[in-house]
Symmetry: C2
Subunit: 264 residues, 2 copies
């Protein structure tokens, strides 16, 4: 394979790539779009090559771009050199990144993970904000927990905005998706502490025993955990609030919980 | 005073309000724009009335809207009933909030705060992201620390995006602005622990003594604290990272630091 030059916006591959801004298309193709050389190098460092690498024909001939080209071709991916116009359309920005890539999605089922393989895991029910989800994946990676489990109707972990907020951590740890019913059916495999965070809990987050493996459950930005999921917990905790604000941003709350549960 | 009806986009007051999307105009007028009834009620609950209240003529006649109207008029503010067109232009959105308000900015100088009045404070050097800043102000409010000190060239705390992320906490605690030189000149008044967060620090954030009053110093998203500011610290700490990601989102890191320093 070699590098292909594309100048036409009506090229079918370019159309397919642009369609990855739509969740439906991402789910149908099991692909996603990542922007910028940094995240692509992060992926390569983790042994993951793009399916398609796209760069602007006036991109800097940085040695890292050459590495991305070489490794993409070696993995039998496509490499496309495109015009600035095409980059702008693909990225939907006036100042697009000069390098973009399409990767295969990797989503796990609950049955594919072993709770006992890590001390701490986090599950998010109905998380709505792409930036929050991306930031939580980044924190989960920094603390080296087992993975992030998405319960119910969550925002797509492979949206451009979420992927950007992960800062490369999207490739670093398992992302698991399940329905509420699947989570409840799987509950028996979690033999450590299953800890729900609720604003109404009586115990502080620091007083929990966090028996291993610990599963932290965080609810939606608006209304917290649903009763069905809250009922599966061994205990409920809250992060103390002593000012006027009665809640924290979800990614901040999850960060505080992850670090507390890890004893870090 | 009574309610004024406005239907023309060329009305001067409407033009002035729209100009508040620009930092220069916010700084010249010392005003800012807040969106949504919730944040306006948050302000009223804290004894702060809008200078201008704006609502759509087809807004729900919610008792809280009536309260906002009454309290704005009582405080000699203006109340404007406007068309949906005008709301869209003011908010720059297709689905605008039906209630908006203009408030006076309140920014403190370092000399106006008493370090000994609270156990913990946070200072941010050159914070760049409006969402991060708003989220940090919200966390600072939840933990009831003394205030948020902005050092050097920071993003505007009164941008629409920052104000939105504060979820009403923008009114709850002092926001202080200073130059790097002013901060260094004021350093002597901080007689507890001045703790800088640096990725290169040797000590963990949990091992710090946090002598009162504690001032936490957080650097910019890209490159951390500048040497000049890092040199003013009594000690440097880092939040442990044990995965692949070598840093946290700034608002998450600041949240973990604030909760650790407060002993919460
Ligand atoms: Co691991
Ligand atoms: Co206070």
């Amino acid at each position: 394979m070699s590098i292909k030059q594309i100048t036409s916006l009506t090229n079918q591959t370019i159309k397919d790539i642009r369609a990855l801004h739509m969740r439906k298309e991402r789910e149908a193709t099991k692909q996603f779009l990542a922007e910028g050389l940094k995240i692509i190098i992060d992926a390569l460092d983790q042994g993951i090559a793009p399916q398609i690498l796209i760069y602007g024909k006036d991109a800097d001939h940085h040695p890292l771009l050459q590495r991305a080209i070489d490794e993409t071709l070696k993995a039998r991916g496509q490499v496309l050199e495109v015009t600035r116009d095409i980059l702008e359309k693909i990225s939907r920005k006036e100042n697009p990144q000069m390098v973009l890539a399409v990767f295969a999605q990797r989503i796990r089922r609950l049955s594919e993970i072993d709770p006992d393989s890590h001390e701490v895991w986090v599950a998010l029910e109905q998380v709505r904000d792409p930036g929050n989800l991306g930031t939580i994946i980044r924190t989960a990676d920094a603390a080296a927990i087992g993975g992030v489990i998405l319960i119910g109707d969550c925002v797509d972990p492979f949206s451009v905005e979420t992927v950007r907020a992960t800062m490369g951590s999207i490739f670093a740890l398992p992302i698991v998706k399940c329905t509420r019913e699947e989570f409840i059916a799987d509950r028996g495999r979690w033999r450590g502490s299953v800890v729900g965070t609720l604003l109404t809990a009586k115990h502080d987050h620091r007083s929990a025993p966090y028996k291993r493996p610990t599963l932290l459950l965080m609810g939606t930005e608006q209304s917290g955990l649903t009763p069905d999921i809250a009922n599966t917990c061994d205990l409920h905790v809250k992060i103390p609030m002593r000012g006027r604000a009665d809640s924290l941003n979800l990614s901040v709350a999850t960060g505080i919980m992850i670090y507390a549960a890890c004893g870090l």
